[in-house]
Every structure is written in C-alpha cells, then in structure tokens.
C-alpha cells in the first residue's frame, strides 16, 4: 500500500495542491492555472482533481490531507491586528475570521473523509525547501509577508528532523516592508515585487538612509518596523502619509512614467533588504553552523538578494524551492505529514524539476487542431525536423510560444510553457514587450542556457535549473535582451536529462548561431496566469502578436490563424485577479 498525501495551500493567495506518494512528488499545480484567475486563493478543487488523476488514484486512496498553516494561530493574529475593534469590521475581514474554514472546505468541497494535518505556515515553507534540497542538513531561513504570526523564521533541519528556532512576528515583516514600497512606487502588491527588484539596478541607493528609518535593527539579526510609515493593518493602503513626507514625493500613479526617483528608491530598498537578510543569515549561521542554507517564503523569490546572501554570507550552498511563495507551502505541508506518518524524510534527492502540472499528448493536440480551420504543420515522429524548424525561426528573429510536456509548478516558466526568442537582438526586449507581455520596458528577460555551456557565458559554477539566481553575464556574445543594466542575468540552466527537448532546441539554435542561449519568459499575457492547456496557449497566441506557436509536435504560423478568430477575440484578454493589488489582504 502506498502512502498518499495531499498537500494544500489556500485561502490567502496562490492556492495549490500537490500529491506526495511514498515521499515522491508526483504532481503539483496552482489552482489559478485551471480557474484562470490570477492568484486564485480558493480551495484548490481542480488542482486536487488533477493531482489524483495524475497519481492514478481516487479520493478513497488518500491517506492524509496536509494543510499549510494553522488557522487558529492565524485567527489569533487576525483578532490582534483588528484591535481595538473586535472583531475587525473592515470589508475584507467580513467572514474571513473563520478558523474552521480550511477543514470544513476540505470536507465539504473536496469531499475528503480521512485525517487532516495542519502544519504551521513557516514550518511548511521550511519543509518545502529542505525536504527537496538534497542537503543532509541545513540552516533554514523563511521570510515572507506573514503566515500565522511569524514573518521571518530561523530553523535547522537534519534528516527527518525540522525545527524552528526563532522568529520575527507580525507586523514586523520584510515581505510587508518590500510590498509597502512596491505599492508606493505604483506597482501591484503581492505580485509586482519582482518588478521593483528589476527596477533597482537602474537606480542609486541614495534613499537608503531614509528607508533605514522604516526599520530598526535589533540584536540577533532581528528587526522592527517603524509603524509611523505603514498603514497595512487597516486594509486600505500599505503606506502612510509619513512615508511620502520622509521620501519627499507623493506615491507614483500606477502605469505612469517611471521617474529616476522611483529607480533610486527601488535600489535603496533592494540594498536595505539584502542588508537585513545578511544580518539574519549571519545570525542563523552562528546558531546553525551548517554549510547549507535553505530559503523559502515569498521574499526568497528575490533572486538578487539570494545571490547576495550566498555571495556575502557565511553559507557555502543555497537551495531555494522554486515555488518559494505560498503555493509551495503545499509541498512542505505534505512533506511534514509524510514525516509524521513514516518517520522518514521524503525525496532524499534534490528536486530535479518542477514539470509537475498537466501535460497533453500530441494526439490530444492533434484532435484539437484537426477540428479547426487553423493551418499547422504536423511534426509527429519527426522531432529533429521540428526542432530544426523552430531553431530556424528563432535564428530569423521570430518570437515563439513554446508548449511542451508537463506544466511548471511555481511562478517561473522553465521551458514547458515559455515564450522564447533570440537573446542577441537589440530589439528583442522591446519587441516581446510590445507583442505579448505589454510590460514595463525596464524589465529584462531571462536566459535559458545549456547547462554544459553556462559557465562560458555566465559567472556561474553550479546548476541553476529554476531561474532563482542572478549572476553576471560574461559571454563573448552580446546578449542585450537578457542582460540587465548592471550586467546581470537571472539564469536557467537546462539539463539534457531533465528537459531533453528544450535542451535539444537550444542546442539546435546554438548550432545555427553559436549561441547556446535562448531568451525565456513565461507564456502568458500581462495579468493572466501562465497558460496551462493547449487552448490557453492558443488563446494567448491569438490575443498577442507572437509569430509562431509550437504545441507539442505542431507548429502554427500566425499567418495560419483564421481572420475571424482575431476579430472575435483579439485584445479580449482579461486580467482577473482574486486578491487586491492595492493592499496586502492580511485577513
């Protein structure tokens, strides 16, 4: 009999579900990919169904559902933060003070009859990193906005043992600090923090001293936010007027031009974050003198800060679980439930890939395409020709929507649901932004490089399969589309054993151009989740100006798209968000 454990994160943002069978990660996916509602926090109904189907089991075969936080402790924090009202009457708080909701919905809406294990939020994060790191032991640093009470946790792990040693509690939160400035700079909270990270290299840290007034450093790496500058507890906006006064400028309006001031504030914030994380890492190493560091939580998605922690901190090795945000909490909760039941640590080895979502066979794609008036080329059984065709188009400067294999779990597209292009072209960044992403011009795209060629082009001496590290570009080839203003890049190394087709494609491109690197960005329109199904991919293709779409073994040219489709659905992409982008929904 197998031990089947379902991990679930939900009811905050980025609901997700995973299946751990006998300690092996079989499936993991965010609910937003099915519902097409960005950051969908609802109990992951469709993701649950997918995980069972992928595992070839039914609900009767599930031994335990592990939930990624303790709602009672969370309620404690929710009650406290609503004070002096008890309970809070803020609109976003109405009916959200419900510690029984997780268990009730797992019973009522998912139909699960067995045991439910609640795993504290930061322990879920910790396990999601350590249990899939491949390290025998590690120090653990979890940093996010907030879980129940903890906003930062320091821990240690060895074998099947994980423990949290110390924590910083709400409302003192590096995640909320970063989100507050993100909001002040006119970007969406809980989503666009990475834009601020991308903006930072364009600025100078001239506001560092001022931003340091927002946070007081305490002994042992801890910190305390100065409440004068924040307003997130009232649920209306993140920052106070005092912050505007401190920085001497009003908040930037969303979608408006980005002034140098914003770039300088972003840089100052990034420097401040790195400084605070390094303090934490140094203290952590003093109490857990391991060579290995595992990081998780939303702040661990800040790959620039991660690189600084590894570069300037006391640890030799760093592992960041690719779905480091709340979605990844599902993995950690399942891992903890596995340890509880088996006494064993799951996934002894390092997580090799995150292609854990739905996949579609070429025959399924064929059945879809053959019913349509769409013109397409069928390369079934002719992979070499397919790759040659795609590589030719890439070398010609075309932008390709690339759909192959199981969908990635987590926020990064890693060659399964990607938009790819030639990184050598000066115009490519602006072109892709105009064609599909409709995003801010300052943001760089990321490179996907053959693992064996990575060190020749990037200052990188180890694999980076999840695009979670930045390093300096040192390539002899000019790579303007993927090189940031400070000469850095957020690299994905592509291993032939893990992603054979994507690896072969980059190789083909390299043979033609001498450049074993592709620009790789997520396959979605702005404000929408990454595409999941072939139809999602077709719709994204239709609504954008991507030149070609590759759906498994099929290549579709934009010229082959029926004119009526464009007439019906061009520019109809809708940004459906399930959570506020003005203020962090702390209820």
């Amino acid at each position: 009999m197998s031990l089947n454990i379902i991990g679930i994160s939900a009811h905050f943002h980025d609901a997700a579900c995973c299946l751990l069978r006998d300690g092996k990660l079989v499936a993991a996916v965010q609910e937003e990919r099915f519902s097409r509602i960005k950051h969908d926090p609802t109990i992951p109904r469709a993701a649950f169904g997918y995980c069972l189907e992928q595992g070839g089991i039914t609900i009767a075969d599930v031994d335990c559902v592990a939930y990624y936080e303790d709602p009672v402790v969370k309620l404690d924090r929710q009650l406290w933060m609503g004070l002096p009202q008890l309970p809070s009457l803020a609109p976003e708080a109405l009916f959200r003070l419900d510690p029984a909701r997780a268990e009730r919905e797992i019973r009522e809406l998912l139909g699960f009859e067995g045991e439910i294990q609640l795993v504290p939020h930061h322990l879920s994060h910790a396990a999601s990193s350590f249990c899939f790191s491949g390290f025998d032991d590690a120090a653990i640093l979890v940093v996010d906005a907030v879980g129940e009470w903890a906003t930062t946790s320091l821990g240690r792990a060895s074998g099947s043992s994980l423990e949290i040693l110390d924590e910083v509690r709400f409302p003192d939160s590096l995640g909320l600090l970063y989100s507050t400035i993100t909001s002040y700079l006119g970007f969406e909270v809980n989503d666009a923090e990475y834009k601020v990270m991308g903006l930072a290299p364009y600025g100078q840290p001239i506001y560092l001293d001022k931003l340091m007034q927002l946070v007081e450093s305490l002994p042992n790496g801890k910190f305390r936010l100065n409440p004068e500058y924040f307003d997130f507890m009232r649920g209306r906006r993140m920052y106070s007027e005092a912050l505007c006064d401190l920085l001497g400028a009003p908040p930037r309006a969303a979608e408006s031009e980005i002034p140098q001031f914003a770039k300088d504030v972003a840089r100052s914030l990034q420097v401040l974050l790195e400084k605070l994380l390094l303090q934490l890492a140094n203290h952590l190493h003093r109490i857990v003198p391991s060579q290995n560091l595992c990081m998780a939580g939303g702040v661990a998605l800040n790959c620039v800060a991660n690189a600084a922690v590894l570069r300037d901190g006391p640890f030799d090795r760093l592992f960041v679980q690719p779905a480091a945000g709340d979605a990844g909490g599902a993995l950690g909760a399942a891992a903890m439930a596995h340890i509880t039941r088996s006494g064993q640590r799951p996934e002894v080895g390092r997580l090799e890939h995150v292609y854990l979502g739905p996949r579609y066979s070429s025959n399924e794609v064929a059945a879809l395409l053959e019913a349509t008036p769409l013109a397409f080329a069928d390369f079934r059984g002719r992979e070499r020709e397919l790759l040659a065709t795609v590589a030719d188009r890439l070398a010609d400067g075309k932008v390709i929507g690339w759909f192959h294999g199981g969908m990635e779990f987590g926020p990064r597209a890693l060659g399964a649901r990607s938009i790819i292009a030639d990184p050598r072209r000066d115009e490519m960044r602006d072109r892709i932004n105009a064609l599909v992403k409709m995003r801010e011009a300052f943001r760089p795209f990321a490179p996907a490089v053959l693992a064996e060629a990575a060190s020749a082009h990037f200052d990188l001496d180890h694999p980076s399969p999840f695009m979670l590290e930045t390093c300096q570009v040192k390539s002899a080839i000019r790579l303007p589309a993927i090189t940031h203003v400070d000469g850095s890049a957020r690299v994905q190394t592509v291993d032939a054993k893990v992603s054979p087709r994507f690896h072969a494609l980059i190789s083909e491109f390299g043979r033609r151009t001498g450049c074993p690197i592709l620009l790789n960005t997520s396959f979605n329109l702005r404000g929408e989740p990454i595409v999941c199904s072939p139809m999602d991919a077709l719709l994204c293709f239709l609504r954008s100006d991507i030149d070609f779409l590759v759906l498994e073994d099929f290549v579709i040219d934009r010229a082959g798209v029926p004119g009526a489709w464009t007439g019906w659905y061009r520019s109809t992409g809708q940004s459906a968000r399930a959570i506020s982008d003005i203020v962090y929904t702390l209820f």
């Binding site: 097409r36 609802t42 109990i43 109904r45 469709a46 169904g49 039914t58 609900i59 009767a60 709602p71 009672v72 402790v73 309620l75 404690d76 009650l79 406290w80 933060m81 004070l83 002096p84 009202q85 008890l86 309970p87 809070s88 009457l89 708080a93 109405l94 009916f95 003070l97 419900d98 510690p99 029984a100 909701r101 009730r104 919905e105 009522e108 809406l109 998912l110 139909g111 009859e113 409302p171 409440p227 004068e228 924040f230 997130f232 507890m233 879809l368 019913a371 349509t372 008036p373 769409l374 139809m535 077709l538 719709l539 029926p562 009526a564 489709w565 019906w568 659905y569 109809t572 809708q574």
Partner: protein, 719 residues
C-alpha cells in the same frame, strides 16, 4: 499605523483558541454583522442604499454607455470600449443621441424587451416604433423615436442608473418591460441575517421562501417608486408591461424538484410523487389530485412538481382556469428557494407591478390579460413564447400593439389608429430570420433542459418556415457536438456570420463555452432534417457524432459532455461554492456513452451516499429502484448494484459488448430516495449563511467523485 499592545496577544491567543470551531466562526461573523448593521445605513450597504439613491443632474454614465461630445458639440452617449464584452447585452447601436428633436419614447427592460433570439434583427423597440409610426400616419411617421435601453438579465437594483440617465434623455414616455430577473437580490449582511433567522425557525418551506419573496417584492416596489420619482421630475408618462410566462409548456429541470424537507416529509413526498406518477400513467386523475394535494401539504408550495401534477389533472378535465392557477403556482414555487431556476416573473412581482403602477397613475399593459384576451381557450405556450419568458414574434406584436395603444394618447395619437399587428417584413423579419429564431429556440430550450417534444417542435418549425435553415442547423450542431471548443470549429465561423446567431451564441469569453451532452438536441435536429428531406445534412451529423464520440478508449463520464444536458447540469443547481465531486439532486444520475463499435467495457465509479444517509428509512421503501442501495443500469438493464455506503467507495464492473449499442448508450445510476439528512443540511445551510455563503438547498441523493468507461482500443475501424 497603530501597533496594538503586544501584551494583548495573550488575550487574542486565548480567544482564538476558544473560537477555534464552526461555532467560533459563527460568533465572529455575527459580531461583524452586528457591528455593520448597527452602523449608519451607508455602511450596511444593500437595499437601503439603492432606495435612497438620488439621480444626479446632467449626463451620467450607465451600463455600457458613457457621455461624449461630437465634433459639432452635440452630446451623445457612446459605448465604452472597455465594456465591449457586454455590448451584446444591449441594443446594437453605436450611439444614443441626447438632443431631442422628436417626441421620445424610451423602452427600458430585460431580455424579453430585447426580443431575445430575434435581436438584433427584430426588437420590441423596433416593433413599437413601427406601430406608433403607422398610427401617426405618413405626416407624423418621423415625429416619434423609440430609444432602446433594454439590457438582458437586468435586476431591479440595476435599473437605478438607467433611471438616472432619463433626466438627460428627457423622454415623453417611458416604457418599462421587466420583472423576470428581479429574484436576483443583492446579498447584504442584513439579508443574510434575515435568512439565517428564517432557517432557525422553519427551514425552506414557508418561512425562508416568504422572507425571500418579501425581499423580492420590496425590490420590485422600490424600482417602480424610483421610476415614479424620475418620471415626475422630468414630466414623463410611464407605461409598465407586466410579463407573462410560458405556463403551458415550461417545466423545471428534474434536479429542481423540491428543496430539502425533514426526513418524514421528504420520504412521504417522494413516495407520493412516485405514486402520483404511476396514477397519472394509469389515468386515475382523482388519485393524482389527492396525492398532489398531499405533496403540496408536505412541501408547503415550494415544489413546482406537485403543482404541475395538479395542473395536469385540471387540464385533462378541461378546467382551464384551475389549470392556469396551478401552473402559476408551479411557476412561482421555486422563487425564493435559493436554487437555480429559469427567469420568471412571479405572481407577487406581477402584483407589485400592477399595484404600484396603479398607485402612481402609470398605464399598465398586463400581458397575462392581453394574451388571454387574444387566445381565451388556451394557456400561454409556444404560440406566444419561444421558451420560458421570451416572446415569439406574435407575442412581441401583441405586447407592443397593446403598449402602443396605451401610450398613444400621450403622443397625441389615436389608440384606434394603432394596428393590431404589423407585417413581419415591415420590421425586418424575413422567413430566414424567423426560421433562425425558431432554431435558436430549439437550442435554448435544450440548454435549459426541456424535453424532446418541444425541442423537436422548434427544429421542425424552423425547417418549415425556411428550409434552407438546414445548413445553419448542421453548422450549429457541428460546433456544439465536436470536442474542440466551439469557437475553434470551422462550422462556428460559418454560423456566426448571422447576426442573430452571433448575438446569442458568440460568447465574448472564449473560455465561457460549455460542451454539453446535447444528444436530445442533436437527435432532434437529425430527425427534423430527415423529415424535411435534408438527409445529407443528417448523415453528415451522424458521421461527425460517430467520429467525435464513438471511438474506443477511456471516456471520463464526469465531463459535462457525457452527463450534462443543460447548462445547470454542467454547473450546479445551487448557489453554494463548487465542489470537487458531483452531487446528484435527482434520484437518478444519467450519463451518455457513444460507441461506434462496442467492445468489452469496464466502468470505474467512485461514489458515496450523502453524509447522514440512513438506508432503513421505512417511508422511502418502494419509491424507486435504488432503495436498497446503488443500482446502475445500462440502456435500462441492470449491470451493477451495491449496498448503501456513505463513505467513498471504489466500484468497478465490466459489461459485455452485447450490452452496449452501436451509437448512443444511456447509463443511469439510481440512488436511494432517502436523500441527505435534513438536520445536517439545515445546520450546514445555517452555518454557511452566517458565514456569507449561500447554501445548497436541494436534497442530495448520491455523490460521485469519478466515473469512467474504458473500452480497450483494439484498432477497430469506425462503423
């Protein structure tokens, strides 16, 4: 930001531990509602806000319309580009002129007032304009305009901004034609609390329904009163059209039979229903009447089924007035039960429209009376209606003729000059467009779970009206029946070239198309095509169905395309949050499997009976075939049975090829009729309402997590 004292966290910790339960969430929810409801009305939200709404002066945006100024300085309303997905809900007009150069009539309303299924070719506004034009004679024909502000699905609350816009448009006459969607109420904390209190007392039958109905009626009254305020302010006259319903033919779907009743009443109701059906089959009308009366006593008027049985008795006895009364009660029965039903204007909304209109001195065009006067010997049915409430062309003509007569004196026209009808061609209705509307009626009836006779009727009528519609029918069935998304099929593009079809079927959200098990519609079309000499089209569809659905392999029977005959079966009949599994609100769950070359097939089913089910409820015995547990039939023949089990149970069973037909096979799961526990369901419903979530009000007879049919693919060719 005020940082609460850290010391207080020890108190919140203890409090959170004490509140760590459903009861705790309920306490917190109640305290929040109390806080909100004790606050000034503007913070409580809901009806009180809309009731006190005061329309602003000048041009105000409403719906898809926003004010704009042309280059010549004239003011117009134009459509908001960002709301283009909603444009098809309104009149197909690029702009509305604000400047008034003629006498102006404004028509406000819902889909019935849009001329649903004829729109945009023919609309009630166009028909009304034509009738007024005829009445005005050649000299005055251009002196009156009718502005069409009808929007499909409009609720009573949503009328407010349209009323506000009337100040700028300054009509001489306002015609309101709405009421079928007014049961959709805003759910404020106050509303939810009233429902919670109702549950605590009597549950669904009676009190909840009365509470909900009172709220619906209040909303109707408020809407008419708001209209009066605006009309008085601008000096406009008002005519209100009271909607009628397809009493004769429209039936609720099988799943929406009766809300959850206490166990003793539920069991007795199920038995009485079973016996009444049998008595009806045997023609024992006295027995049917007696049993229907028993059922109504048990369900307290919340079930259309029991009222319809009573109506059937009256109809068979030729007692038309009594049948009408029973069918009106059937129409009203589900309103206020918080379960999905098709739009309708219940008696108490009709009464509110009449009463308030009379009080304000409005003209009332009472469609029930208009239709009755025109056809005194029949109940309103397919002659006047395309479906539940949308009017046929004859229905539109009658309604607009009565309206034109009512408003004509205000426009200085003689009522006698208004024609009783206008030739179809004079308002743009060709045989082609009439035929397409009739075929769309077939589709719409199918998507709302109506029976094969009605669907077949509209298919045949469409072919009779304009035989060339056969090509349209083939195209529409093609994209509905293929597995590829509608919009991706070649046939979809062909069909969407017609503006009426595009308006009805071109969903602005390409992910919004739903694949259904539309076999009743598809077979009706094929049958009608064969009957009308369009055999090649029929053959084309049969081949397509075999190719798309008949291949061997694994079929997920949980997919809507294998089980859902209607939109509601695909989604849900209740308004609660969606579940990861299927709940059957009927005693039989039906699935469809198409096989071109039947072979050994293995069915795999994960199922359970609802929590709290008790198999030994004596009252349920003998009511249906599933009473001793789960029974599965294939084409009417039992192929599997299992003892009652209220935990997830994995069952597999194999059937021989001989049990399957080449073509369409029907698999039915018969559940015990005991259904879900009353106490458990009421407790769940109360808790949900207290936590701001609508409850599931229909009884659940069985639950299915997964159901597949697998026929190994041996490479056999299609038949």
């Amino acid at each position: 930001m005020q940082r609460p004292l850290d010391q207080l966290s020890s108190l919140t910790r203890r409090l959170s531990q004490l509140l760590a339960s459903d009861q705790g969430a309920r306490v917190l929810g109640l305290m929040q509602k109390l806080g909100l409801m004790a606050a000034p009305p503007t913070q409580a939200g809901g009806r009180s806000q809309s009731q006190s709404h005061s329309p602003p002066e000048g041009l105000s945006p409403f719906g898809i319309w926003q004010p704009d100024t042309r280059a010549d300085g004239t003011q117009v309303y134009v459509r908001r580009p960002e709301l283009s997905a909603e444009w098809r809900c309104w009149a197909d007009l690029p702009e509305l002129s604000v400047a008034k150069t003629r006498k102006r009539v404004v028509l406000i309303g819902e889909s019935v007032a849009r001329g649903f299924l004829y729109d945009p070719v023919v609309t009630p506004a166009k028909v009304l304009a034509k009738m007024l034009s005829v009445a005005a004679g050649p000299q005055g024909a251009d002196e009156i305009e009718v502005i069409d502000l009808a929007r499909i699905d409009i609720t009573a609350t949503e009328l407010t901004p349209i009323f506000a816009a009337l100040r700028a448009l300054a009509p001489d006459v306002i015609v309101l034609f709405a009421g079928n969607n007014w049961h959709n109420l805003p759910r404020t904390p106050l509303e939810l609390e009233r429902l919670v209190a109702a549950f605590a007392t009597n549950g669904y039958p009676g009190y909840v329904q009365q509470i909900y109905r009172a709220a619906i009626r209040d909303g109707a009254v408020a809407a008419i009163d708001r209209l009066e305020q605006v009309a008085s302010a601008i000096g406009a006259k008002v005519a209100v059209i009271v909607p009628e319903f397809n009493l004769k033919e429209w039936r609720n779907e099988a799943a929406n039979q009766v809300p959850v009743l206490p166990e003793d009443r539920h069991g007795a109701w199920m038995v009485a229903h079973h016996q009444a059906q049998r008595a009806l089959d045997e023609g024992d009308l006295d027995r049917v009447e007696q049993l229907a009366t028993t059922m109504i006593g048990l369900d307290a008027g919340t079930s259309a089924v029991s009222q319809t049985l009573r109506a059937e008795v009256h109809l068979r006895r030729g007692a038309l007035d009594q049948a009408r009364a029973a069918l009106e009660a059937a129409r009203d029965a589900p309103v206020g039960t918080v379960a999905f039903h098709s739009p309708r204007c219940a008696s108490f909304v009709q009464d509110a429209l009449r009463e308030r209109s009379n009080r304000h001195g409005f003209a009332v065009i009472d469609l029930p009376r208009v239709f009755q006067a025109h056809a005194p010997d029949e109940l309103p049915g397919r002659r006047f209606f395309l479906d539940y409430c949308h009017l046929s062309f004859e229905g539109i003509s009658l309604a607009m003729a009565a309206t034109a007569r009512a408003v004509s004196p205000w426009l200085d026209l003689a009522p006698a000059a208004v024609p009783g009808s206008v030739p179809a061609r004079d308002v743009g209705l060709t045989p082609r467009s009439a035929s397409i509307a009739e075929f769309l009626a077939a589709i719409h009836n199918a998507h709302y779970g109506q029976g094969p006779e009605l669907i077949s009727y509209w298919c045949k009528k469409a072919l009779t009206t304009w035989p060339e519609v056969a090509d349209v029918m083939v195209a529409c069935v093609d994209f509905h029946a293929r597995k590829a998304p509608h919009w991706m099929c070649r046939s979809f593009e062909t069909a969407m070239a017609d503006p009426m079809i595009a308006r009805y079927l071109l969903n602005p959200d390409p992910r919004g198309f739903q694949k259904l098990a539309g076999f009743t519609l598809w077979q009706s079309v094929i049958g009608a095509l064969k009957d009308h000499g369009a055999a090649s089209g029929a053959r084309q569809l049969e081949d397509m169905l075999a190719h798309e659905h008949g291949l061997a392999g694994r079929v997920d029977l949980m997919e809507p395309s294998s089980r859902a005959r209607s939109y509601r079966e695909a989604r849900s009949f209740t308004f609660g949050p969606p579940r990861a599994f299927l709940q059957s609100h009927a005693t039989t769950s039906v699935f469809y499997l198409v096989r071109s070359a039947p072979g050994d097939t293995t069915f795999s089913l994960t199922w359970r009976l609802p929590s709290g089910h008790r198999a030994d409820r004596g009252a349920d015995r003998g009511a249906d075939r599933g009473d001793n547990g789960l029974v599965v039939t294939l084409n009417g023949r039992q192929v599997f049975s299992a003892a009652p089990e209220d935990r997830w149970t994995q069952s597999s069973f194999r059937v021989e090829p001989s049990a399957l037909r080449a073509g369409l096979n029907t698999i039915e799961i018969h559940w015990p009729t005991a259904g879900s526990s009353w106490a458990a369901r009421i407790a769940e419903s109360q808790l949900r309402l207290e936590l701001g979530v609508l409850p599931d009000v229909l009884p659940t007879f069985g639950e299915i997590f997964s159901f597949t049919a697998t026929q190994p693919d041996t490479g056999a060719a299609l038949a």
